[in-house]
Structure formats: C-alpha cells, structure tokens
C-alpha cells in the first residue's frame, strides 16, 4: 500500500499545525463560527447534536494494521471507546472535544493519516472498490489512480470552495463495488480495442434529495490524461454550478440543466486547452505510484486446500460463514475475507477500540498487515490464506466479529441518523437494530438470499437508501419520526434508484412492513430468484398491494 515519503509527512504535519493555529484563533474569538466552519469542515470536523464529530479519511478504504491500531487508540483516548465506519470508507469519532482535535490530528499524522477534505465543499476522500488489487475479477488495481487523485485533490487551490461537496469513486472491475454511477464523478477502468487500459468517465450521479444515476461523458480516457480531464470537469463546474440554492448546487443539477451532451462538449472544450499541460502523467510518474501497490510476495499454494475443506466439512457454522463472507482472490490458495460489523442488534459500522485492535492484530497475523473498509461499512482482510481461515474465524468470534451475514438482509447500511446528526429527521440506528434482530435467524437469512437493505435518517441519503434493494428513509411527519420505504434500488453497474411504495410508516411498524415485503417476495419468487430479480420481473405493484393491505 501507499507509504508516505518525506514530503507527505511534512505536508500533513504542516496542515495539522495550520489547523492548530485556526483552532486557537477560533477559541480566542479571532475567527467567527461562520468563518471557522469551512476551515474545520475541510479538516473533517463537524459540530453535531451533542459534540464535535471528527471524520478521518481512510483513502480509498485501505489501511495498515498499524493505522487500524491507532484508530483504536484514538477511540479509547479521545472518544468513548468506539468509532463508526461510514459509507465513504471513512471513520467517524462522535464525541471529540474541539481543543483535543489538533492532538488527534497529530496522532493520525504519526501513522500517515489525516482528516483533510473529509468534509466541506471540496473534493472529498476518493473512494474505491474495497477489493482493489486482490479481486479475481479486476482489470487493474484502482488504488493506484485513487492515490494519484488523492494527491492531486489535496488542498487544490482552485477547487477548495466549490458550489458543493464533490465525490469521486473508482472501480477497476466490471463488477462495480464502488457505486461509481452514484458519484459526482465515477471512473471505471476499461480496456479498449487496442488492449490499453483507460477510464470510462461518468458524471452527475448522486443520491440526496435528487437521486440521479450518472451518465457517461467519455467512453475511454487514456490514463495519462486523467488529471487534466478531471480539472476540466471541475473548472466547468466551479464556474457554472449553482450557488444560490444548497439543494441545487451539486454537479448533477448542472448536468441536468445543460444536458449531458452539452456538458460533455463543454468539458471536452476545456480539456482541449489543458490536455497536454503539466497535469499529464508520464509513465515514470505512474510507475512510481504503482510501485507502492505492487503485489506482495505470495506463497505458492495448491488448491484445493485440504485442511480448509476439512474444517468446512466438520464445522457447519464455519462453513456458513465461508459461504457469505469470502470473495475470490486473484491468487490461488488465498481468499478475501469480509468481517461483518453488523451483529444482530448492533449498530452498523461501529467498532470498539478493542475490536479495532483485534482486527489490527489479526491483519498482521493473517492478512499481510493490511485491511480495507468497505462502503457497506464492513472491514476486509484482503490477503488470507485458506488454510488460516478456520483459526481466523475462531479468533474473530472471540471479539464478536464472526457474523456470517455479508450480502444478506442483516448486512444493513445505515447512517448515524438522529442519534448524532443534526441534519437527520429521524433515527436510523434503532431501526437497523430492530431489523437485524428480527431477521437474525441464519436459516431465514440464507433462505431470503442476497439482498441490500439501506437506511438513511434524512433525504441527504448517507445511508444510500435510494440504491438499496429495500430502502428506508426517515422523515419527519408533524414532529413524529416516520419511515418511507422504497424497493428496486441497485448500487452496482446496473445502478437504479428505488421506487417509493406509498405513505410512510411510524417507527413501530417498520419491522412489520419489511417483514411483509419479504413475505411477499418469498411467495412470488421463482426458484433461485433474488429479491431484486423478483422486483425487476414483477415491478413494485404486488409488493405495494400486500404492504398496504396489511397496514
């Protein structure tokens, strides 16, 4: 993975020193809250309902065991002993004190981490496929490009006061695990007819108040032009994006207003001017970053791995876990493990300091010292030898981390909701907790099969409810928390926005309502059909009818 050089180290230290100075000026009253706000936001610091929340960047979701251990240390020392992994592959600390934040940033800098641009109207932490570099199905390792974009976008002088926040996601695989069509810019690595690898560029996707699936403005962009093309998009947006209305300020609104063809034309025209500027990446520069992501030295392991197969045969609980929580690895004898942060009745994405430290230890022992954070709010161990799986699984179990539910109905994505967030209309966490308890029976989950269930506490959609196969949105109905239900959302390469089924439900009816939807599905599904297949085949009407007949 990427390791800082002297420049990176100095840069992050200088940035921390700058923020320490800004905090001091704020405390001394030299900065108004209005002026301090964008500065703290650009360092990831929000003021929420009860306290300051610090959002720490985990660039493209990749981190080392040492970094994970430090995240645990920070949780214990400066927070209430836990952290929350987010849908943007970051971690949030919910209970920080303003005057501690510079010290926390120093502790992060000690392990090559920071909170730069995890908020504010700037280019946010670039997200990527959590299986990048190890997935059997990938074209190329997208982390190389995510790192190049991380560097380029860091304190970009021109694009730090954009009309609105700006999110870029990249996938190196045909199977999109990074929801690239739902970002301001989505990049898909592609191979052209000549066999060269470049990017398909998608713009204008996003969730929030106006959910839109992004559209392609360029089928194939040669690699070396990535940064100039991004600058062309960003400059066009910075000059023309709306600034009069917070809800109309994202690039998707500009794209919709001028039309995708016209927008593509404007970008191409701007790009033409800067295409061969200093932004062009020569092969040596690319190779220098690629060097950081060189594959590890793998052991030659023959498949099948006998002890692994034996353990599966003798230990059914382990076998169940291997069916849900593993993903095929590039290298024979290895596998990718997703560690669920979704225990029955738990808070999706939360991990305690002890769990973070345990994950760090296990990563060192079994995953070449590396971990990933998935946008589904789980932790990934990307380099596990199959022969170690049974021991690893047992060790995970000791820390409450062995749930066998990845991709199933209790693998719920949820934002923090009204328990923490001052934007929320309703709580999301208690709904997730009730649902995961209700559906906790492994046999039932397995019977229901692959499904995504996403919950947001408000229309800003941090919990990705628009693209959940089942989406739950918290709304405020005359001062009472209510929940609107959508079905048919898809986050992958076939991205789709879910459709609203009807009037919203009060909190106490949500579990029943979801149960009714699942009951309907189980009645009308054909052999082997997943929930989303059924919705695609029959539409929303049968679900709507049973849902509102019962309620």
């Amino acid at each position: 993975m990427y390791t800082y050089n002297e420049f990176d180290h100095a840069f992050v230290r200088d940035r921390t020193a700058e923020f320490r100075d800004q905090v001091a000026r704020r405390i001394a009253g030299e900065l108004t809250e209005d002026e301090f706000k964008p500065l703290r936001l650009m360092n990831g610091l929000y003021l929420q309902l009860h306290a300051y929340m610090l959002r720490v960047a985990i660039p493209y979701g990749t981190l080392s065991a040492r970094q994970m251990r430090q995240l645990g240390y920070i949780a214990r020392r400066w927070d209430r002993n836990w952290g929350h992994f987010t849908t943007r592959q970051n971690i949030q600390y919910n209970w920080t004190k303003l005057d501690d934040v510079p010290d926390i940033l120093d502790a992060l800098a000690d392990v090559e981490m920071h909170a730069i641009q995890t908020s504010g109207n700037c280019i946010r932490n670039v997200t990527a496929d959590q299986f990048a570099g190890v997935a059997a199905d990938e074209i190329e390792d997208s982390r190389v490009w995510a790192e190049i974009m991380r560097q380029w976008s860091t304190l970009h002088p021109e694009f730090t006061f954009l009309p609105r926040k700006f999110k870029i996601a990249i996938t190196g695989s045909e199977n999109d695990r990074a929801a690239v069509k739902l970002h301001d810019i989505g990049l898909r690595m592609r191979r052209n007819d000549a066999g060269e690898v470049g990017f398909e560029v998608i713009v204008g996707g996003g969730q929030g108040r106006t959910p839109i699936v992004g559209e392609t403005i360029r089928e194939f962009l040669p690699k070396q032009h990535l940064l100039s093309y991004l600058e062309a998009i960003l400059r066009t947006y910075n000059l023309l994006g709306r600034r009069d209305n917070l809800y109309k300020a994202r690039i998707k609104i500009l794209v919709a207003a001028v039309g995708i063809e016209k927008f593509a034309e404007m970008v191409e025209e701007e790009w033409h001017e800067i295409k061969d500027s200093a932004l062009t990446l020569d092969a040596a520069k690319i190779a220098e970053i690629e060097r950081h992501f060189a594959p590890p030295v793998y052991q030659e392991i023959a498949e099948p791995v006998a002890p692994y197969d034996a353990a599966r045969f003798t230990d059914p609980a382990f076998a169940a876990w291997t069916r849900t929580n593993l993903f095929p690895h590039k290298q024979p004898g290895y596998t990718i493990v997703t560690v669920s942060l979704k225990p029955a009745g738990g808070v999706p994405g939360d991990a305690t300091a002890e769990q973070m430290e345990a994950l760090a230890d296990l990563a060192e022992k079994y995953s070449l010292g590396e971990l990933r954070i998935a946008h589904e709010q789980n932790v990934v161990l990307p380099y596990v030898r199959k022969q170690d799986l049974h021991t690893l699984w047992q060790a995970l179990g000791e820390h409450g981390l062995a749930d066998a539910n990845i991709g199933l109905i209790t693998d719920i994505i949820s934002c923090p909701g009204l328990d923490y967030c001052n934007l929320a209309n309703a709580r999301a966490i208690p709904i997730a907790q009730r649902l995961s308890r209700h559906f906790s029976d492994p046999a039932l989950q397995s019977e229901i099969g692959p499904i995504t269930l996403n919950i947001s506490g408000c229309i800003n959609a941090c919990g990705h409810h628009h693209v959940g196969n089942i989406g739950i949105l918290g709304v405020d109905k005359k001062g009472v928390e209510h929940y609107q239900i959508t079905i048919g959302g898809i986050a992958d390469e076939n991205a789709a926005i879910g459709k609203i089924l009807g009037p919203s439900f009060p909190a106490e009816s949500v579990v029943d309502a979801i149960d009714t939807l699942i009951g309907t599905f189980r009645k009308i599904r054909t052999e082997g059909e997943t929930f989303i297949d059924t919705v695609t085949r029959v539409g929303i009407t049968p679900f709507k009818e049973t849902l509102y007949a019962n309620h």
């Binding site: 840069f11 200088d14 006061f161």
Partner: protein, 187 residues
C-alpha cells in the same frame, strides 16, 4: 480599504467611473469600470485614460475580456462571500491561460486562510480589512514546502517591493510549478 500587493500595504488608487463626476477625471486618473461599462465604452476608455482596471463579478465570463487584456492594468475579482470560489477559476484562467501580466486583485469577503489558494491561482493583490494581514499574506506561501498539484506559484524574490514594479502595475512574477506530487514522484 487597504490593499496588499508587492509585499506592502498600498492605497487603492482605482477610481470607479460611476463614483466620480466626469469633469474631475483626468487622463492620469486610474479608472475602474465594470464589464458592462467596458464593453459599452472600450474605445473611449482606451482613448481617454492611461490606466484602466476592470471589475469582474463572479458570474462574468473572463473570456469576454480575453482579447482586451493588453489594454487593462488590473482585473479586480469579487468574493461576495468567502465560500463562493468562482474567482479562483477566473484568476487561474486570466493568469495561466490568457497570460495576463497585470494586477489580479481579490476583493470582498476574503479570509486569510484563502491567501495561499489565491496566490496559487495567480492573484497578486488582496483588499483587506486590517493592515495586520500583511504578515499572513506574506507567510501564506511558506506554510507548506511544496504542493501536490501544478498551479501558479509566486517566485520568491521577484517583483517585490520596488517603486518601479509598483508604478508599472506589474507585480510578483508567477511561474508554473511542477506538481510536488513532485513530492512522491520526481523528487
């Protein structure tokens, strides 16, 4: 309000056409116009005044003055609110793409934490509420030892503080600087 430029506090010399009675204006009056006024009276302004500046609102398209830059000594960009960042792109285009050598000034609600970004986009002057900000302006580009992306950076020791450069209206020199991605790459 005071202006910071060329490493010192200066008076704002520009006189808005609309603020002054026509008979008090002389050939040597440094005259400031809006884009509209410039478009309407470009020839007259060039014929009657030796020094001319234009004030661009942030919805104005800098392309509109691309061909006229040789006739302008300064372009004044406006921040209606500090978080409205259009002027960053306007400055970048003026300095970098159009090669404008005159003063590019940021006015309005600018905060000191933006000084570095302004300088890296080619802005060489800023209007401030408080003269004490001179120090922050001068320190802005020294906070970091390098940068991750190519932009326009002030070249140390040029264009600073000589009477000549001040009166000629040509301030600090800007240079295209290779990315400090430099950092991780070339260096």
């Amino acid at each position: 309000m005071p202006i910071i430029r060329n490493g010192r506090i200066q008076e704002d010399v520009w006189v808005s056409l609309t603020d002054r009675e026509a008979e008090t204006l002389g050939r040597d009056t440094p005259v400031l116009v809006s884009l509209e006024e410039w478009k309407a009276g470009r020839e007259t302004l060039i014929a009657n005044f030796d020094r001319r500046a234009i004030r661009l609102e942030n919805a104005d398209d800098v392309e509109d003055i691309r061909e006229d830059l040789a006739d302008l000594d300064a372009v004044i960009l406006v921040f209606p609110k500090f978080n409205d960042g259009r002027a960053f792109s306007q400055a970048r285009l003026l300095r970098d793409r159009f090669g404008f050598k005159g003063e590019i000034r940021a006015t309005g609600h600018v905060i000191q934490d933006q000084f570095l970004f302004l300088q890296r986009c080619g802005v060489d002057a800023v209007e401030v509420m408080d003269e004490k900000l001179l120090d922050a302006w001068q320190r802005a580009n020294r906070r970091f030892k390098g940068y991750y992306q190519p932009a326009l950076d002030v070249v140390e020791g040029t264009g600073r503080d000589t009477a000549e450069t001040v009166s000629s209206g040509h301030g600090a020199a800007y240079a295209r600087v290779e990315p400090a991605v430099l950092a991780s790459w070339a260096y």
